[in-house]
């Protein structure tokens, strides 16, 4: 006869739970232990490369939300655009990455850090001075494979837990 409803299921459940007491908990104590994020992380801020940007405005046209604002003027001697204002309102940005993908000159990147909270909403608008690449603000490897190689490897949960079957 099948020993189905006689309490065996409850006992099996209790065994599974008690075995978890002996396993290492899957917890990382932030901010003492930080995990490495993915190399292609679409962080909160964007990084703009002044030398490569030509002011074509492809990123502004591709953005679904319309958060990029570019103002250019022409330089008659070199026959190029001079980018006067380049602003991104990160409050409206949804971090989709279409701007980074569509730039033909690879002048726009995402940033690698994610701890960029601000106190006021006005500070979320980034002008071109705030979008330079600095040692604190690294470039993430989204759509930039050669930059992705240099970033640290992502910590994966599959590698930290080695439970036997």
């Amino acid at each position: 006869m099948k020993f189905e409803r006689y309490g065996i299921g409850i006992v099996k459940g209790l065994m599974v739970t008690i075995r978890h007491l002996l396993r290492h908990p899957t917890v990382s104590q932030y901010p003492e232990q930080r995990l490495n994020t993915s190399r292609r992380i679409r962080g909160n801020e964007l990084i703009w490369n002044r030398e490569d940007c030509t002011g074509c405005g492809t990123c502004a046209k591709t953005c679904p939300q319309g958060v990029i604002r570019i103002v250019t003027s022409t330089n008659r001697e070199t026959n190029k655009y001079v980018v006067e204002e380049y602003e991104i309102d990160t409050g409206y940005c949804i971090q989709c990455g279409l701007c980074v993908e569509s730039c033909p000159y690879e002048a726009l990147f995402f940033s690698y850090n994610y701890e960029c909270a601000k106190y006021r909403r006005g500070e979320l608008v980034q002008t071109k001075e705030m979008m330079m690449e600095t040692p604190e603000r690294q470039v993430s490897g989204y759509f930039a494979p050669e930059r992705a190689e240099k970033l640290p490897r992502q910590t994966l949960l599959v590698e930290r837990i080695t439970e036997k079957k």
């Binding site: 299921g9 599974v16 992380i41 679904p64």
Partner: protein, 367 residues
């Protein structure tokens, strides 16, 4: 002398610990027995279908992520397939295999949440929920490695993907596939024969096969009622006809059957991923397209088997860079329409349990 009682109206409001999102139910109760329910939704309506007419075809992909925000890859895939059908774009082989792998991983992740929150509604105080979230973390780590984000991926494009997978994706996926079957077996040992669960969910909230077909239900809810209908086999899209897998069905259509169907579907998804990983060729992952796609005028409807049911996109284009009309067949809303029949006559606790077992996502219901 009989005691006079009258039914009272309980408002399970938009903010409730157990409705999966902002969903409101006005339940008329007679003591503990449910006499009538009236659903009120629309609290998350964002006008996505109207926004589609103002974004370009490519610019709409991030918005499809936010429809059924728990299974983003499936939404992306359905929309990209609709545009590819409209514009006649070819997808390379490697991209097709990768699409299958990612869709099945997304099905795993979604069913983990569905089963976890089902047990949460049952009252098992977060323990199965946390175990399943631990497994879902592993899947989300892999998705983060590919696309950079954990919930709204925006990874699929027309004709493939935005970037190829990095070199460490395949070894990590193999490690995951080594661990996951053992974990699914452990969940079964924990919960499948639990007497309290059996008493709570067996025979509760029954949806007969006839009612299910009349309401237009799809997905695991339909399969639990005994009907063997899966779009991956009935109307194969992408390259699903190259893989071997079974379709699990239930017997009675109660809450326990829906739970079992989801767990068995997880096992079948693991099978499909194994086969796809072995057969995947190398090659390009994206076909060469301009950034602003301009399909010729016409209309197209594609449907896929998303983890919650049949998700369909109907696109009408008039030869411009934005769709003329985009309509989404909302799986969760149509599945929700059967709730009233399933619940009348049962108690409050069963109302919550049945509602949780349908597994809806409010982003899809309200769009």
């Amino acid at each position: 002398m009989t005691l006079k009682t009258e039914p009272f109206m309980l408002n399970m409001g938009p903010v409730h610990p157990s409705t999966h999102g902002v969903y409101r139910m006005r339940a008329t109760l007679d003591g503990e027995v449910v006499v009538d329910i009236e659903p009120v939704f629309g609290y998350l309506h964002r006008g996505i279908e109207k926004l589609a007419e103002e974004r370009t075809f490519t610019g709409f992909i991030p918005l499809t992520d936010r429809l059924d925000y728990i299974s983003s890859m499936s939404n992306n895939m359905a929309y990209c397939m609709a545009v590819e059908k409209l514009a006649g774009i070819e997808v390379p082989e490697r991209a097709e295999y990768l699409r299958v792998i990612l869709a099945e991983m997304q099905r795993l992740a979604n069913h983990l949440i569905a089963v976890g929150s089902f047990f949460n509604d049952c009252g098992a105080y977060f323990t199965p929920f946390l175990y399943m979230f631990r497994e879902r973390e592993k899947i989300l780590d892999l998705f983060e490695m590919l696309s950079g984000q954990r919930l709204t991926y925006n990874y699929m494009r027309f004709g493939g993907f935005s970037q190829d997978v990095p070199a460490e994706f395949m070894p990590a996926l193999r490690k995951f596939m080594g661990q996951m079957p053992g974990m699914v077996d452990e969940f079964d040992r924990f919960l499948k024969q639990n007497e309290v669960l059996l008493a709570r969910a067996r025979g509760v909230g029954i949806l007969t096969a006839e009612q299910a077909i009349n309401c237009g239900i799809s997905g695991p809810v339909l399969r639990a009622s005994g009907i063997e209908w899966d779009l991956r086999k009935a109307d194969p899209y992408s390259i699903y006809d190259r893989f071997e897998f079974d379709i699990p069905t239930g017997e009675f259509g109660d809450c326990y059957d829906r739970y079992r169907v989801r767990v068995e579907e997880m096992r079948q998804s693991l099978r499909i991923i194994e086969q796809a990983m072995d057969q995947m060729p190398s090659g390009p992952v994206r076909s060469d397209l301009p950034h602003l796609v301009r399909p010729p005028a016409g209309e197209a409807y594609t449907h896929i088997e998303s983890p919650k049911g049949e998700l369909g996109f109907y696109l009408v284009s008039d030869d411009s860079i934005a769709p003329y009309r985009c309509h989404i067949r909302p799986t969760s809303l149509i599945n929700l329409s059967a709730l009233r029949d399933m619940v009348i006559g049962w108690k409050v606790a069963d109302l919550i349990l049945t509602f949780g077992s349908i597994d809806i996502c409010l982003g899809e219901v309200d769009r």
